[in-house]
């Protein structure tokens, strides 16, 4: 079994909405059915008893090894605790070659599970040992390391439940919620609005205390001390008992409470000095430790925190009692579980000795023995939810404390006897405020109800209505994508949106190109969705990226499929048939938001059929409103865009909008059919997101398909009185559309038509041939050139195919073969006379267009000279 081309599908993809690992698995003939391998399944189950039953994947009963790999990779993750359910093995048209897809929740874990699954298959095949425990352990460890911590996880889950998109910005806990100009960020329990200064203030306990006092929040009085002697003096000023702690500490390190005499104080002073040079002495507030969580201007949760303790049974020693307690399966070692094991260390022993005990003392039955003075969860303490008990005035103090320091997510530590009574009546107070507080004790307290803390944070960031989304339009199809994308972006701009756009010629934000090259993949889409100045995104979504990585977004508002026609790039990446291709292009249609819109070409049967695969509403477009698909749709009162009486019509039930085609320059009064399709698609998309008809009309009128708008998309030039059309068309459908457009253009008598063409080597033979066959019926001369990049073809191979296509051409009389794009362009242009038409199918778009422009400029100069 050979596993190749392992890739991570990081967004909705061909197979599902889930993130998944995809691999191509080649099985030897005997591996194509495991039933032919004696005892294989028994050996497999011996090594991994919990693996699911296998089932056949095709129409016969065979179970290929690829399927075993699939099931193993999924079940290993599931057994390791990952929330995954989806997997699939699909056969291909090549015998023994399968595509295996396995869902993951963490990419690294998915990849690792794939590795272990392969090892398992091998072990079962060759009857060698397989260490299941080691595999699961490693997967669990990696998962714990990779997945979000409980605090961040809770916030992300709350966002996901609200339909807010999110993306991890780092391997840690930094998350982007929402897109473009609506994006927000968090890092654990810290929002992007959380002020760095406020965090610094919270770190400085004295300053915090001064501020809280100003806010009318009770705080323990105290002061900074220079040495142990001064500490004792301070303690006497304040009144015993007191607390000693380092000024800039955290997690209760170096804190000693309830100090009643000088010896205890001296020891405590030394302990605190280990953590900081600045030491505080404060009045000791007797009572319980409470943690109140304030989010925005509300108290959302409160917990009582109790120090770790054991209760004597008159039989066991303290040490044994601790061991018993630590056996509780809820007690873990990290921050992930609701309890942590009690630490039995020096601090615990010191605490014991303060109670006159040692590790071996046997406390009498019913005696509670504390093992620490502080109640932090991470050292074994417990948290009990008391949210519903909080007295309103206590809640008000907590909120006032957070506001005074300036923390929008704030953990307020309070000490008092009872949370049911005002602090003021019981001498309680706030001892500390914490930035980026841990949420674990509120999400899954040791005792009592968990609280919807993540929801509160998301609510504070996004209010109750916003979901952080900007309008996202995904555009795919065989031809016309780039022009459609540009046109939609242009219409959006009329609406006042700052538009981010990806296409095959770059990434644009507000018209500024920020990346070049083919940018129709998910990486470019992500960069638009991450840009802070983008109010709406229009994303050309090519099949390559969808196959390689899935979509860059969970769902779009509008999906536009311009056409599939007879396809392009067939034969690559297991996409061999038109049906295969439609499955890929359909991905965007399957991932439209419920309130969104699919914009589909009614005339292209493959595209029209996609309507059945979306829950969103559909807008069909097509020139002829009597086309059965469009007519039926319109008759049902649904949205349709078509052409009638020289006007672009948009209809929905009894509502109609009309835009005269004469005011849509790129259609040349409606003569250029394929531009008409692009316009209809773009108008449908703009309509779907609620752009006004005034803006749509203005946008169509002002969209100029010159070089600045869409390079290599039907760019028209005039040269020595002849017309030059430069286009990037490179498949049979594009040729048909161009030919239709060329024929529709007004022609002077005796017009001679020439075309310059190369063929892209990565197309199927038949598709290359087909292009010249189409051109041969319309052009007098065909200039064929071979370019530098042959995309895997041998020298001259493509030219030969192009030549074959010209066999039996109706119109073509002359043809010439040339090496080099510029040479070919020179050849064609030099032969042009007034009234002629030349179609140049450019390959290196920018360079070729620049060359043409330069040549035209020189030509004009020559003309000027001669007239002078």
């Amino acid at each position: 079994m050979d596993v190749s081309r392992i890739r991570a599908l990081r967004g909705p993809n061909l197979w599902s909405h889930h993130t998944a690992i995809e691999a191509v698995v080649t099985c030897s003939p005997e591996e194509c059915s495991i039933s032919t391998r004696n005892g294989f399944e028994a050996r497999l189950r011996d090594r991994f008893p919990d693996i699911r039953p296998m089932r056949s994947i095709g129409n016969d009963d065979t179970v290929p090894m690829a399927h075993v790999l699939e099931v193993a990779a999924l079940d290993l993750q599931a057994q390791a605790g990952c929330p995954v359910t989806f997997s699939r093995t699909a056969d291909t048209h090549e015998t023994g070659v399968y595509r295996v897809v396995v869902e993951y929740s963490e990419e690294a874990v998915g990849r690792l599970a794939f590795d272990w699954a392969q090892k398992l298959c091998l072990a079962a095949q060759h009857d060698t040992p397989f260490d299941l425990e080691a595999a699961l352990h490693q997967l669990r460890e990696l998962d714990e390391e990779e997945r979000l911590g409980p605090s961040t996880g809770a916030i992300v889950n709350a966002a996901a439940a609200r339909g807010i998109p999110f993306r991890r910005m780092t391997k840690g806990s930094m998350i982007q919620f929402g897109w473009g100009s609506k994006q927000r960020r968090i890092q654990a329990a810290e929002m992007d609005t959380t002020s760095a200064i406020s965090e610094q203030i919270a770190q400085d306990k004295e300053l915090t205390k001064k501020m809280l006092a100003a806010a009318g929040v009770p705080v323990p009085v105290g002061r900074e001390v220079d040495n142990a002697q001064d500490a004792w003096a301070a303690a006497l000023e304040i009144g015993l008992p007191v607390v000693i702690k380092p000024k800039n500490g955290n997690q209760g390190k170096g804190v000693t409470v309830n100090i009643n005499n000088q010896d205890h104080l001296n020891a405590a002073f030394d302990a605190a000095c280990e953590f900081d040079d600045d030491i505080l002495v404060e009045r000791y507030l007797p009572g319980n430790d409470f943690r109140l969580l304030v989010v925005g201007d509300k108290l959302v949760a409160a917990a009582r925190r109790d120090a770790p303790s054991v209760v004597g049974d008159g039989v066991h020693s303290v040490k044994e009692l601790v061991e018993q307690v630590n056996k509780d399966p809820r007690r873990g070692t990290g921050h992930a579980t609701s309890l942590t094991k009690i630490r039995f260390d020096d601090i615990a022993l010191t605490c014991l000795s303060a109670q006159g005990m040692t590790a071996d003392s046997v406390p009498i039955k019913g005696k509670r023995v504390n093992l620490r003075h502080n109640a932090n969860l991470s050292t074994g303490g417990t948290a009990t939810d008391v949210t519903d008990d909080v007295h309103p005035s206590i809640a008000a103090r907590a909120v006032a404390a957070a506001k005074m320091v300036g923390l929008d997510i704030c953990g307020v530590d309070m000490v008092c006897e009872s949370i049911l009574q005002p602090l003021e009546t019981q001498g309680g107070g706030v001892v500390e405020v914490n930035a980026a507080p841990g949420l674990r004790m509120h999400l899954s307290p040791s005792f009592g109800k968990g609280r919807a803390v993540g929801e509160a944070i998301i609510q504070t960031m996004f209010g109750s209505k916003d979901n952080g989304r900007i309008p996202v339009v995904a555009v795919t199809g065989t031809n016309g994508k780039t022009t459609t994308v540009r046109l939609i972006a242009h219409l959006f701009k009329q609406h006042g949106w700052r538009v981010g756009m990806t296409s095959t010629d770059g990434v644009y934000v507000q018209g500024e190109r920020i990346d070049t090259g083919d940018c129709s993949g998910p990486k470019s889409a992500r960069s638009v969705l991450q840009h802070p100045d983008v109010d709406a995104a229009v994303l050309e979504t090519a099949r390559g990226g969808m196959l390689r990585e899935g979509l860059a977004f969970d769902r779009c508002e509008v999906a536009v499929v311009t056409n599939v026609g007879s396809g392009d790039h067939l034969g690559l990446n297991f996409v061999n048939t038109l049906e295969d291709l439609s499955l890929v292009k359909r991905i965007i249609v399957q991932n439209i938001a419920p309130q969104g819109m699919a914009v589909l070409n009614a005339v292209d049967p493959v595209v029209a059929a996609m309507a059945a695969h979306t829950n969103a509403a559909v807008t069909f477009f097509g020139v002829d409103k009597n086309h059965p698909v469009l007519a039926t749709h319109l008759a049902r009162g649904r949205r349709g865009v078509y052409v009638e009486d020289g006007c672009l019509m948009a209809s929905e039930g009894s509502r109609h909008f009309r835009i005269p085609l004469e005011s849509v320059p790129i259609t040349l009064n409606g003569t250029i059919g394929f531009q008409l399709e692009n316009v209809m698609a773009a108008v449908s998309a703009a309509w779907a997101v609620g752009i006004s008809w005034d803006h749509i009309s203005e946008g169509l009128a002002s969209f100029d398909n010159d070089l600045n708008n869409a390079q290599g998309r039907f760019n028209l030039f005039s040269y020595r009185g002849a017309t030059i059309i430069a286009d990037y068309g490179h498949n049979p459908d594009a040729m048909q559309a161009l030919v239709q457009a060329v024929q529709a253009m007004p022609a002077s008598p005796g017009q001679r038509r020439s075309v310059v063409i190369s063929g892209a080597g990565d197309r199927r033979d038949q598709d290359i041939r087909e292009q010249t066959r189409i051109l041969g019926d319309v052009f007098d001369e065909v200039v064929m050139y071979q370019d530098a990049c042959q995309r895997g073809r041998a020298d001259g191979e493509v030219l030969a195919l192009l030549r074959e296509g010209l066999n039996g051409a109706h119109r073509t009389k002359e043809s010439v073969e040339i090496y080099g794009e510029f040479v070919a362009i020179d050849h064609a242009m030099n032969r042009l006379r007034s009234g002629d038409l030349c179609l140049i199918l450019v390959d290196q778009v920018e360079e070729a267009l620049a060359y043409i422009k330069q040549k035209i400029a020189q030509g004009i100069e020559l003309n000027c000279l001669s007239s002078a």
């Binding site: 910005m169 780092t170 930094m174 960020r185 968090i186 890092q187 810290e190 929002m191 992007d192 609005t193 959380t194 002020s195 760095a196 200064i197 406020s198 965090e199 610094q200 203030i201 400085d204 300053l207 501020m211 006092a213 100003a214 806010a215 009318g216 005035s393 006032a400 506001k403 005074m404 300036g406 005002p422 602090l423 003021e424 009546t425 930035a435 980026a436 990434v507 934000v509 500024e512 190109r513 920020i514 990346d515 992500r526 960069s527 991450q530 840009h531 802070p532 100045d533």
Partner: protein, 722 residues
């Protein structure tokens, strides 16, 4: 004969406006003793000795109002208290803390003077005072006094206790805009504005500077990937974990490269323009010492620049210059550096120095640069050889704000926005700052949170840029308020009750109110602290509270004398009477005129858009009306009093009693009446108190109906404690 040192009887720091001036001052009471008999011109050689020690005293105009004014007085004869004042002010100036205000006044006891001088920081002021006395005494007795040591001493105190230069620059810009400030700790945390209108700064961080943005900025790798994805040019590079990998990545990227720690700062462990495997591997080892991981990236040719972005704008830019020394064939590297670079007077370790000294022992980056030129720290380069120390620009101290291409400025602002910082220092390298980055391969290297401002405030060359002003304008856009309504009430009769009633009325008009008065410290209707709170510190507590939307303060004359007011200006200043609850003779406040100087403080601080509420039945108080920058409302039982009548005749506001009604009238028009009979006895029996409340709340634009209702509903005993 040697003269005896004069004594300080009492030294007070007045933190707010008081009888002398608006700014914080030291007030020292001195007893000249025998020196009372020796004015300056009677001590032979004194003039020469003093001006010898402090030649810059010539700048002091003194009362004479001309250059050398003070020296003229000195020659004609003036007393030591006055001399001390000028000496102390000059010591402040020499230590880099410019102050101007000072006064020396006789009291009515012979030889006892009050000497006051401006000092923004208490410890500095006190130390300067003592140093000043020693200096004056040394000049009198012809003894030595080490002026430079004294100045150095003060400089250290300023360094330890006063605002750093960047913060000070921002605070000065706030003061220029009349925005009040409060220091919240003993370093650089400063509050600008009051109560709920406040903003905070901590050096060049604001309360709008996001903690997450700071953590992004400190992660160079993350910063770069975010910038890149938003189209901001960055040097391509990769994180590496070993020296071998560093070399491999360098080859991928293309030489030369930069090697640096991913989370370091201040250029430590940053190695640039590395060409060879050995250089790169050595640099990796050094860089790895600074941070957890190391980045290898393309070396961008060009000069280093620092652009400061505030809000959405680039506001200043500096250029770095290459640093080199010239060999003389005799001295080793460090000696050359000490002689040619570190000897520059602008060079020093403290923040105030624009240039930092180069010590080879501490600068592996420079050592590596030497190594590349075939030198070691011990080498003695031949005469005339130029040795590059920091070829890529060391100190970014050369202003170039006006040359920055708008496209570069736009990209820098975008970079700050992408990271999420409201104030950011953008480090970039480009051959020509007057051209867009893209066109010439320039790139942004780093985005810094809390950037230093000194390079823009005091560039070595070029124009200083008002970056503090930009930050203040960013925090307080032109129309945004930075004050809350502040009411100050001075007097002795029912002033606590007046303060509480005013606070109550503000509270029921829908505002969160802070109140500091003799009855205690209150927030809204809650008594937070029942201890008498009519003192400076309690007042500050009200003003630093971020929830407080209006503040009310009661002041007694003693408090004004002892501490000054807790605010710079107020919206409404109220004077009820000229009595003092304490005996102020110990403050040398004995005559009615002296009391006047104390009480007038309350009226002096009224804002131009504010109002003084004055009891017109006391002619002394009526006199204060002319001192007020804002409007005046008079109140008195009798509307026929000349002050009342003429004020009303001018169309102004007055409050008076008509039978059993309190009448609010403006000019001819009677605005409203409040019946005293509708109030409980404890109020109805004190019509003057009620009038003061009515006039004050009227000045605060509270509607008469609400005033009437609030007066009826207030009950001093029912305020909550929780």
């Amino acid at each position: 004969m040697k003269k005896k040192k004069f004594e300080f009887l009492k030294v007070t720091y007045l933190k707010g406006p008081g009888i002398w001036t608006y700014v914080p001052i030291i007030e020292a009471w001195i007893d000249l003793g025998e020196l009372e008999d020796y004015p300056s011109h009677t001590i032979p050689g004194f003039y020469e000795r003093l001006t010898g020690m402090l030649p810059s005293l010539v700048e002091h105009h003194c009362g004479v109002g001309e250059h050398g004014g003070f020296l003229k007085r000195l020659r004609e004869g003036t007393w030591s208290g006055h001399i001390l004042e000028h000496v102390v002010i000059e010591l402040h100036n020499l230590a880099g803390m410019p102050v101007t205000f000072g006064k020396a006044r006789e009291t009515d006891e012979r030889g006892i003077y009050k000497v006051v001088f401006e000092s923004p920081q208490e410890q500095v002021g006190r130390e300067a005072l003592h140093l000043g006395r020693d200096l004056v005494m040394a000049a009198i007795n012809d003894e030595t006094f080490d002026v430079p040591a004294a100045v150095e001493n003060l400089k250290e105190l300023i360094d330890d206790h006063y605002l750093g230069p960047s913060t000070n620059h921002i605070v000065s810009a706030a003061i220029d805009r009349k925005i009040p400030f409060i220091r919240l700790n003993d370093v650089n945390l400063v509050q600008l504005g009051y109560g709920c209108q406040q903003r905070r700064i901590w050096t060049a961080e604001t309360d709008g500077t996001s903690a997450i943005a700071e953590s992004i900025a400190s992660d160079k790798h993350l910063t770069k990937s975010l910038l890149k994805s938003c189209g901001v040019p960055v040097p391509e590079g990769e994180e590496v974990s070993s020296a071998q990998e560093a070399w491999a990545v360098a080859q991928d990227i293309g030489l030369p490269v930069v090697v640096k720690p991913s989370d370091g700062n201040h250029g430590r462990g940053v190695f640039i323009n590395l060409q060879t495997q050995q250089e790169i591997e050595t640099a990796f080892i050094e860089a790895a010492k600074q941070g957890s991981s190391v980045i290898v990236e393309r070396f961008i040719q060009g000069d280093a620049f620092r652009l400061l972005v505030v809000g959405k704008q680039m506001v200043a830019a500096s250029r770095g210059k290459t640093i080199s020394v010239k060999g003389d064939g005799q001295h080793a590297m460090q000696e050359l550096i000490d002689a040619q670079i570190n000897s520059d007077p602008r060079c020093g370790y403290e923040a105030e120095y624009p240039l930092s000294p180069i010590v080879l022992r501490r600068e592996p980056t420079v050592r590596l640069e030497l190594q590349r030129q075939g030198l070691t720290p011990e080498s003695v380069p031949e005469d005339g050889r130029v040795v590059m120390l920091k070829p890529h620009g060391g100190n970014l101290e050369y202003d170039c704000t006006d040359q920055v291409h708008p496209e570069v400025a736009r990209v820098a602002a975008l970079a700050a926005r992408v990271v999420g910082l409201d104030v950011a220092g953008i480090d970039l390298v480009t051959p020509d700052i007057t051209q867009p980055l893209h066109s010439q391969g320039g790139a942004i290297n780093e985005v810094n949170a809390g950037p230093g401002l000194l390079m823009h405030i005091k560039p070595l060359e070029g124009k200083p840029r008002p970056v503090g002003r930009a930050i203040v304008d960013h925090l307080f856009p032109p129309k945004q308020s930075y004050r809350i309504p502040v009411v100050g009430i001075t007097g002795s009769k029912h002033t606590a009750r007046i303060a509480r009633l005013v606070a109550w009325l503000l509270h029921i008009s829908g505002r969160h109110v802070g109140l500091a008065c003799q009855d205690g410290f209150f927030l809204d209707n809650r008594c937070v602290d029942a201890q008498p709170s009519a003192y400076w510190e309690a007042g500050q507590r009200v003003l630093i509270n971020r929830s407080v939307e209006a503040a009310v303060f009661e002041h007694q004359q003693e408090g004004i004398l002892k501490e000054g007011l807790p605010y710079d200006r107020c919206l409404v200043g109220v004077v009820t009477d000229m009595q003092s609850t304490q005996d102020l003779t110990g403050y040398y406040i004995r005559t009615p005129d002296q009391h006047f100087t104390v009480v007038r403080t309350q009226v002096d601080v009224v804002l131009p858009e504010g109002t003084a509420v004055l009891n017109a039945s006391d002619p002394q108080i009526v006199e204060m009306a002319d001192l007020c920058d804002g409007k005046v409302i008079f109140y008195a039982l009798d509307p026929q009093l000349p002050a009342m009548a003429s004020h009303r005749a001018q169309g102004e506001r007055v409050v008076f009693l008509n039978q059993h009604d309190i009448v609010m009238a403006q000019g001819e028009i009677e605005i409203s009446r409040i019946s005293l009979q509708s109030l409980n006895k404890s109020k109805a029996s004190k019509p003057e108190m009620v009038m003061a409340v009515v006039a004050t709340t009227w000045a605060l634009d509270i509607k008469p109906e609400l005033i009437a209702a609030g007066l009826r509903t207030f009950n001093a005993e029912t305020s909550k404690t929780y």
